[in-house]
Symmetry: C2
Subunit: 135 residues, 2 copies
């Protein structure tokens, strides 16, 4: 039983895989990780964050922040006292529970890049788009 598939019968892998898919969906996309990392350096205003996450548009930032907030990973505070209003985003404590996940992805990805680059030097399945080996 190599992978987290509860019953010997492989019929309902769906159940076991839903959790993985959930996590993947939450971290997937182009901007979720950069935003989380950006906020891991401390609370940020909207515009600050946009500068930090280089290349993101206001539309995407707004949309992604909404999803992250709904999932409890970040917190949104509005200071209406100022003019114009100031909005601060903070990585919620719950956001730190992602650390092991990100660490696992990071560790594997790093090793994989090394492996792919080495196999490219020797002889291996031709890598047309292995994983975007840049340099």
């Amino acid at each position: 039983m190599p992978f987290p598939v509860p019953p010997p019968s492989h019929a309902n892998c769906t159940g076991a895989m839903r959790s993985v898919r959930d996590a993947l969906d939450l971290l997937g996309g182009k901007w979720k990780l950069p935003i989380i990392v950006g906020l891991s350096n401390g609370p940020q205003r909207f515009k600050q964050l946009q500068r930090e996450v280089a290349g993101i548009t206001a539309k995407m930032l707004s949309k992604e922040l909404k999803e992250l907030e709904i999932n409890g990973l970040i917190t949104r505070q509005v200071d209406a006292a100022t003019v114009p209003v100031a909005v601060t985003y903070t990585l919620a404590a719950y956001g730190n529970t992602l650390f092991p996940v990100i660490e696992a992805l990071h560790a594997w990805g790093r090793e994989h890049r090394i492996r792919i680059m080495h196999s490219g030097e020797t002889t291996a399945p031709k890598a047309s788009r292995v994983v975007e080996v840049v340099a």
Copy 2:
């Protein structure tokens, strides 16, 4: 320094995040995981695999298998002796190195689902599309 961001300066998060993005890209998409899980039950012929991974088209299966093979996660063997040819796909030993990653995603996703369902029962940010809470 909460997350794997090497220098105190947050300027070049890109380097640290590339590995994560690589891993995410490799596991992302709709079919990668189901295929890997399917093959974790043992070697499979193309058609067998297509039946096991319910809903996938031949086109997608072919495409995904190619990517997985290029990245060394699976192996492709052709038995040209038979008519018609028989092709067998096997989860490579290297494929098992993904286990910790999948396990981390699985563990977090499971806890998150529980958390979201609970917060939905009490009072929390309205979840319009929290993470597709089905039931």
